[in-house]
């Protein structure tokens, strides 16, 4: 049994259907990449798992329990964390307060302020700065640290490399193996295929709200992925 099992999930924005019968699995201790062009439904999928859509309860199962109908604030409590696209830090909170509020859901586990600072030492130096005064890469670290503070068993990262310099992206991705080694299931959404495949063992390609390709990263050829990505 997989940690996260999504069965024929559909999602809507008003009359517009953004996802069509998506099936998805994520395993503990493994990284899964979702790749696809803009508007493929990747972010919608992550937000749906996080509780922002109200699919049938059974459409999303986490650790064997149906969580589809839960509100976002309850889903976090089960151990599902989302690092949202664009980081979305709280501007009126300091760096440390942003991290602390990540632990608001009260889940116990191994992640503490000290360990997050250990993972991203630069944050400790800037702990009292307003979160939005940091550089883009540092803000992304805060966003990831904030999600870790809730001690998730599933961590979903939405476009964490977007708009960052390659060297900064490398630093952030360097932190992921440490997170995986805790037994966390990692789901990474990226538009940059190369970046995603550098850590992921499993790959899903989304296109037009549907899964067009899935498999082990090592089994899929570049051409097959490109074809699924661009729909050619």
């Amino acid at each position: 049994m997989s940690l996260l099992e999504v069965n024929s999930l559909s999602a809507f924005y008003g009359d517009f259907q953004a996802l069509f019968d998506v099936d998805f699995r994520a395993e503990a201790g493994r990284a899964t990449a979702i790749i696809g062009a803009n508007g493929a439904g990747k972010s919608t999928f992550l937000r749906a798992v996080a509780g922002f859509q109200s699919p049938p309860d059974e459409a999303i199962r986490f650790d064997g329990e149906a969580i589809g109908a839960l509100k976002p604030s309850r889903v976090v409590g089960r151990g599902v964390a989302l690092v949202p696209e664009g980081r979305r830090l709280f501007p009126s909170l300091s760096v440390e307060e942003n991290l602390k509020i990540g632990g608001y859901c009260g889940r116990r586990g191994g992640w503490t302020l000290e360990r997050v600072y250990g993972l991203f030492p630069v944050l400790q130096e800037r702990r009292d700065a307003p979160a939005t005064a940091l550089s883009g890469g540092q803000q992304q670290m805060v966003a990831i640290g904030r999600a870790l503070m809730g001690n998730p068993r599933l961590l979903m990262c939405d476009e964490i490399s977007l708009g960052l310099a390659p060297i900064v992206i490398r630093d952030i991705y360097a932190a992921l193996p440490a997170i995986l080694s805790e037994g966390v299931a990692l789901v990474i959404v990226e538009q940059d295929i190369g970046q995603a495949l550098s850590v992921a063992e499993d790959v899903y390609c989304f296109q037009g709200g549907r899964v067009t390709l899935q498999g082990k990263a090592s089994d899929l050829s570049r051409d097959a992925i490109s074809a699924a990505y661009f729909g050619v």
Binding site: P72, P84, G106
Partner: protein
């Protein structure tokens, strides 16, 4: 000269009362962008609750706060949970309409129960006692207590906002309620808590008002307007700015009253409009963008 100094001093202390009224309004706007038109009427409801308790148990109005504050907090929590949460959204009309409706229902309901007669609460000698400060200036003991209460309440709010987990959650929700949910914050419950806190502060304001002056079921709207003026003068979202805003309004009103009793309130309104004209963001706008 001393007369004017005395007037200004009184105005500053009156400002403490206005800050108490303004804090709740500013809190609910800050956290959930809700402007509660019934804010003043709820403070009058608190005054009537205190009146009932004082008459029933023969206790001092100050002591009645022990019951009135939690009662109003419960009313606020219930109001937000069952009535106001569903009105929040992009459209400003539903919350305005619902709280305006609530205001009219409260006013007329209080009228039916308590009649239109003016009432007041008495705290005995404290009410009229004054402390000489030397140089011919004296401050009333009760106004001084009011100002002290306002400062204590604001200090408590400041501590709550800046140093507690609840305060962080309130600020985070104010910044971005959707992302706050990702932290496990149930925004609807948090809104109810915010309204409960606002109503607890309003209860204090209502009881102090009732001691200071007489009140009747239609006294609410004027309180809403003063609270609103203090918030705008002080600058939206600034806690201590609210106290400054209350004091500016209080001083303007007492100077107005000293010039001509009939024009006191009007001078307060004019002060508000002047601030709006020259400093539309208030005297102490919040610098951190949120």
């Amino acid at each position: 000269m001393i007369g004017w100094l005395d007037t200004i001093l009184q105005g500053l202390m009156l400002g403490g009362l206005y800050a108490l009224f303004a804090t709740g309004l500013s809190l609910t706007f800050g956290v959930m962008r809700l402007v509660n038109i019934a804010h003043g009427d709820l403070s009058i409801l608190a005054a009537y609750l205190a009146l009932v308790i004082v008459q029933h148990f023969g206790v001092s109005p100050f002591l009645s706060l022990i019951a009135v504050v939690p009662l109003m907090a419960i009313i606020g929590y219930a109001l937000q949970t069952f009535l106001l949460n569903d009105t929040l959204g992009d459209d400003i009309l539903p919350p305005l309409l619902v709280t305006f409706g609530l205001s009219i229902v409260l006013q007329n309901g209080l009228m039916e129960v308590f009649s239109a007669d003016s009432r007041g609460l008495s705290v005995g000698e404290v009410q009229t006692a004054s402390l000489p400060l030397g140089g011919g200036i004296a401050v009333g003991v009760f106004p001084a207590i009011t100002l002290a209460a306002a400062i204590v309440v604001l200090a408590l709010m400041s501590w709550l906002f800046n140093s507690t987990s609840l305060g962080r959650a309130l600020r985070a929700t104010s910044d971005d309620q959707s992302t706050a949910q990702l932290m496990g914050i149930d925004n609807r419950r948090l809104y109810a808590v915010a309204m409960a806190i606002a109503m607890a502060v309003v209860a204090v304001a209502g009881v102090f008002l009732a001691i200071r002056t007489t009140f009747d079921p239609t006294s609410g709207p004027a309180r809403l307007l003063y609270a609103f003026e203090a918030v705008i003068i002080g600058g939206l979202g600034s806690l201590w700015g609210t106290l400054a805003g209350g004091m500016v309004l209080g001083v303007a009103q007492t100077i107005g009253f000293a010039l001509s009793p009939a024009w006191g309130i009007a001078v307060g309104h004019i002060a508000f409009l002047v601030v709006l004209l020259i400093r539309p963001n208030g005297l102490f706008p919040r610098t951190r963008d949120a």
